[in-house]
């Protein structure tokens, strides 16, 4: 009882309503757990080239290849450092892609030649082996899409601006088949994840063609119309669904039922440039995690948004904004890395911290410690640790733990308020620059009927800080009700001071400007309200 009585209450800001959006679902928490970092990796920062494609190696350690300018750069997915750069292209390179075993890399280019590189030699950075090991010549126009089939290591297919899709035997550098059917640039393609012979290509003629290398007729097995020039085509992991990106929409098609449209996602406002399949993280036993076997469709667009689309429930589950138009996206097979390429050469690489790695580290430390065991010396009073020994001792089960009473941290303004030094409290709160605290202190002063007295007593410098604060926050909706009335009163109280000082005049002008702006906004909002409310009333009547 005695304890209760002596407690003091610190000044607390008003509670804010926490919107339901922010109280994140486990899924959006998961997607937000990718710590994004920016890699502006190009050596020449003046000329920045769009990153047209990114792909992860299917085998560990999951390097990823980003294609931009006349080069393909391999990055480590752990540190995001460039490992090697393939620059044996005469012109722009496009669509670098890994073979299913991750040993070879193929890339198309503006020149129309598809080149094959050996990853291993590239890793070693042997100067000699920088050049390609195979060159597939056949396209007359730039090749924008090169893909290996899922399991087949000998063949690849490519699509070019000459509206042709070619199927190659890589070892012999010969063209096995040529597929006709597209009437415009072929800009995207994907191999079926369940069959080595099936693959789909998308073209600017709005159509997607699914090809089968076993069909001798060289005509598409299935063809469907997306309605917009197709930017990207992806087989979903089941192999029975295809997602296409074109225009502002992403559409999902059922291949087995002959190309029926399953659903459309229209949440982007500009052209969707790239899509890929992402999965929930594996290996984490975190209960809050959303189930790891669920896969999502990740899409990026020129509007700078990355959206996560749950195609089973047809809902956009997460959305993230980047400051640049986005061109390409890739998600690593081990679900730890997500890389997004932009139109001016910046890569946004996001990595998840994995708990398993922490455990690994722990194991390492432990083994390290045990190795050092014999060297552990007896602590002497000369050592600082001598005085701390035993402090981290854990109590055993039968021990009675005497708890140290928790030290109450008091903010400086609270201490000052308790001493009734009101002006100092206000100044100290203003210097901390947390608007919620400042308003809370001001409200406390109002409750003591001391706020205006404090304002009167502020000296010129402190008054400047107050005016700056008012300029910054008086139009913020949560504080405006309180601060606008205060700002008005403050300026009335200290007109003379404001007039006499140039700095204060500047602050006052700023305040005036922000308020004028706010008035403009309010007026336009009222106009909108005027337009909308009759509509709502009509809608309500029905």
């Amino acid at each position: 009882m005695a304890d209760e009585r002596i407690t003091t209450f610190p000044v607390k800001p008003k509670l804010k309503p926490n919107s339901k959006k922010l109280s994140s679902t486990p899924e959006s928490k998961y997607w937000r757990s990718f710590k994004t970092q920016k890699i502006s990796n190009q050596n020449n920062p003046i000329t920045t080239f769009p990153i047209t494609s990114i792909e992860f190696s299917p085998i560990s350690p999951h390097y990823f290849a980003a294609t931009f300018s006349a080069s393909v750069t391999l990055y480590s997915s752990q540190t995001f450092d460039p490992i090697s750069k393939i620059s044996s292209f005469s012109d722009f390179a496009y669509s670098a892609t890994f073979r299913s075993d991750g040993k070879l890399l193929a890339a198309g280019g503006e020149s129309g030649i598809v080149q094959i590189f050996d990853i291993k030699t590239q890793e070693k950075k042997e100067i000699k082996s920088r050049s390609s090991i195979r060159k597939l010549k056949g396209h007359t126009r730039p090749v924008h899409v090169v893909r290996y089939p899922s399991f087949d290591k000998l063949h690849l297919f490519s699509g070019g601006d000459d509206a042709l899709v070619k199927f190659w035997d890589v070892a012999s550098e010969t063209q096995v088949m040529e597929f006709h059917g597209h009437k415009d640039y072929v800009r995207s393609g994907c191999a079926s994840p369940i069959s080595s012979d099936m693959f789909a290509t998308g073209s600017y003629d709005h159509t997607v063609n699914v090809w089968d290398s076993r069909v001798a007729s060289r005509e598409s097995v299935i063809k469907f119309d997306h309605g917009h020039p197709i930017e990207d085509v992806v087989f979903l992991p089941s192999g029975s669904l295809i997602a296409t990106a074109g225009g502002n929409s992403v559409k999902i098609w059922d291949v087995i039922s002959g190309g029926k449209l399953v659903c459309t996602m229209d949440s982007h406002v500009k052209t969707v440039t790239s899509i890929c399949v992402g999965r929930g993280g594996s290996g984490n036993s975190n209960r809050e995690e959303f189930e790891s076997d669920k896969s999502r469709l990740l899409s990026v667009s020129l509007d700078g948004f990355m959206k996560v689309f749950d195609y089973s429930t047809l809902k956009v589950t997460h959305s993230m904004r980047f400051p640049l138009p986005l061109l390409s996206i890739a998600f690593s097979p081990d679900c730890s890395t997500r890389v997004i390429g932009t139109s001016n050469g910046v890569l946004y690489a996001g990595k998840r911290l994995k708990k398993s790695t922490v455990e690994d580290n722990k194991l390492d430390q432990w083994s390290f410690g045990s190795a050092n065991e014999p060297q552990k010396r007896v602590l002497r009073p000369s050592n600082f640790r001598y005085f701390q020994r035993g402090q981290s001792e854990k109590p055993s089960e039968e021990d009675y733990v005497v708890k140290r009473s928790k030290k109450v941290k008091t903010a400086e303004h609270d201490k000052l308020l308790r001493k009734f030094r009101h002006k100092e409290a206000l100044v100290s709160a203003l210097n901390v620059k947390n608007p919620a605290t400042v308003v809370a202190v001001m409200e406390e002063l109002v409750a003591r009927k001391k706020l205006l007295k404090c304002v009167e007593n502020l000296d010129i410098k402190e008054f400047g800080v107050l005016l700056e604060f008012l300029h910054k926050y008086s139009t913020m909706p949560i504080y405006s009700g309180f601060l606008i009335a205060l700002a008005k009163r403050v300026l009335q109280l200290r007109t003379e001071d404001v007039r006499s000082s140039d700095v204060l005049m500047g602050h006052a002008r700023n305040l005036k400007r922000s308020i004028e702006e706010e008035i403009r906004i309010q007026q336009s909002l009222q106009e909108i309200h005027g337009i909308v409310s009759p509509l709502l009333r009509i809608a309500g009547r029905r």
């Binding site: 005695a2 002596i6 209450f9 607390k12 509670l15 308790r418 409200e443 109002v446 409750a447 309180f482």
Partner: protein
Amino acid sequence: MGGWNLSGDGDGISSPAPLPSLKYMVRNGSFRAMLTGGKSFVSSPPAFSSDGKRLLVCTGNTVSVFCTKTGIQITELKGHTTSVTSVIVVPSSTPASKVLCYCWTSSLDGTICYWDFSLPELVRKVDVHLPVFSMIIPNVLGIAVEGKKKQPNLFAFISVKDTTRPDVLNKALHGKILKCNLTKSSQAGGVLSETRHPEFITGSISGEYFGIRNKRKIHVWKINANGSKYDVKKIKLHHTKNLSVLAFHPTQRIIAAGDVTGRILIWRGFGNKSFSENGGPVNGKAVKIEEERAGVRGDDDAESCSTWHWHPAEVKVLFFSSDGAYLYSGGKEGVLVVWQLDTGNKKFLPRIGAPLLYFVDSPDPTLCSISCADNQIHLLKTSSMEILKSISGIKLPCSLPAINDGLRCGFFFDCAAGLVAIPTEAYSVQFYSLLEDREVSQVQICERNHQAPDDVTIVVTLLALSEDGLKLSTVDTKLSEEGIGGLVCLKFWDYGSRRGQFTLSTIIYEPHSDARISAIAFHPICDMVVSSSYSGDFKIWVRSVNMQQKDRESSKPGWRCHSVGSYKRKSMTAAAFSADGSVLAVAAETVITLWDPEQNVFVAVIGETTSCIETLSFVGKSEYLLAVSRGSKAQLSVWSMSKLSISWSYQLLAEAVTCSRDGSRFAVLVLLPESGRRMNRSEKTTIQVGDGVIVLFNVEDPVPVATWSVKKAKGGGISFLQADPSLIDENFSDEKSPSEMLVYLSGDHEYILFDPYSKEDSTISWNCRKSRAPLEETGNSGYAAIYAELPEIPSERHQIESAPYLPSEKPWETIFSGSSHVLPPLTKLCSVFLESLLEKLPTAQD
């Protein structure tokens, strides 16, 4: 009849017979009070018993004895008929006499009583015929000396109010200081002093001096102990401000006094001239002293006068510690200051939470008590200045001046549990059990520290409990400073872990933008609250469970706005749900609007009253609605829901109304208007302003069923309580127990419970009182007090010894039982007894 006018087709209320106290509730000429309580603990200073284990507190007409260890009431001294004003415990001169429990009490009924409070028992009664406001007994030990055959006369100095003198120009000196011979029960000597009002007498511990404050002066008397007749000498000390309190040093000639501005004055060596034995020093010496006297005003008889100033407001408490090294002071700001007398260094006990009124120390040097204005007595550990225990009574009404009519903080009755919720000055709500007459809990509504109440800016204005008492809703209003920063907060609370404990669930800032809330009411069945505001709308709040995340762990259920309604932009002044919750009645100034709360559909509007409706209430499960409007055209009207029209109405000023839960009766607490005084001139007693009448009505009949006259009705309240039959004494089981009781809480928060329906005069006694007398804690002594009790170590030796014995039948238990004339002679018994011991041994050794 003037303003006291009862319209309607009934024959009106017969003029009630007012009686002097709340105690006497007139019911058709007879009264019966079942239970009273809610007494103020801080009307006068308490006193410790001579062993320091008990605290005697003046509580209204009685003196309550509390245990200082548990803080629970042990017993009560009943005998005075009006307020007890002082209690003096006879101290023990020897350690052996510490167990003696005698005390003197004085009361406004003009008597001084001598008690043995261990039993408790009235020993003697001395009648002085004048209301005693304060009393000291300088040489109180005199009577305790039992050894002497002839007891010396015991004298008391009393401060009385003499109203016999005619009140001319309102300047008559009513206060008198008298000397009274308690042994002979007679007045001794003449009037020592006369003041405008009776003053509080302060005596010194040594019994040499006593004094009173009188405006800007202190009167100090010295009691000359030599000779059987007391010779009293008087000096005066002057100050420039009105003095408020004084204290005597226990050993030296030092007097401390506090004034209204917060200064503490300390006169050292007072009365050196006047009180010295040999009539006064030589002239030359006097001149010398004259020069040295620092700070002493005029020709006051003191060596020096120093001033300490820490308190920002009036000093209310001054007390020297028993060794005289420290001075305790306190006042309105609720901080106990300990001054070191020699140096003037200070120590503080801050945040006590209410203005201090009295400081009393106990014979036990580690214990002292402070009485606070919020009706709490804190027991302090003197050394560490920490609060050991608090004895809290019902919170007193807010002493603030009425800032605004809208900020009238009312209380709320929890009918089922017999609790009343009272908003306090320290931004909290106290739950007080009316049946047990003690505090149940306190809920802090605003997280703010208590401030000196000269500038109250945050007030808990409204509170409502749900029918089951599990949900609480409060409204607190912060007043703005010149139009900046006003705030209204609506808060919803959930039932906590303990009885009367509530945890905050939802805060809604500015629920009706910046307008004040006029009423809040709970739906009787489901989780729904209506709040109505003066800005012209009402809102219905429901508790919501987040539906979106149903599959995931449900987020905390909060309260949300369900719907908003308004009627012609009129300010909504009152709201109430019907008993089944199907109808919501909201008063829009002078008309009553009816709504469907679930669908938020406007149903009907009824009637028009003469002035703004302030309270609405459905009468139980009947079809009637009660509307109360106050102001100049006060009205109480009963509306029929089936006819949607007024049934009957009276033109009277209702302070509070309450409706019985299931029946069709309701009771109204009516404030008597000024002209009531004229009306009752014919009778001997006069009605004071603020008195009232409780009128019980049957809803269909405008003729009242019963009336009771009560005192201090302004700011009071009434409520029906559901009677708990377990609380009624079993001895009265033959009598039909009442199903409902009426409780009246006066403006001073004293309350009385009674059965409004019963006709008999017999009073049911309540066993809840009896069960409350606790066993006194058996304190550890000696070794156990210091080192705690030893664990019981079974001695091995004893076990070995007892090994040869078999469990015997213990025949002596039966042998010796029975009365002495039945038992056989002792010689016979002895041999049997010894045999029974010896017999067993050989069998065990076999």
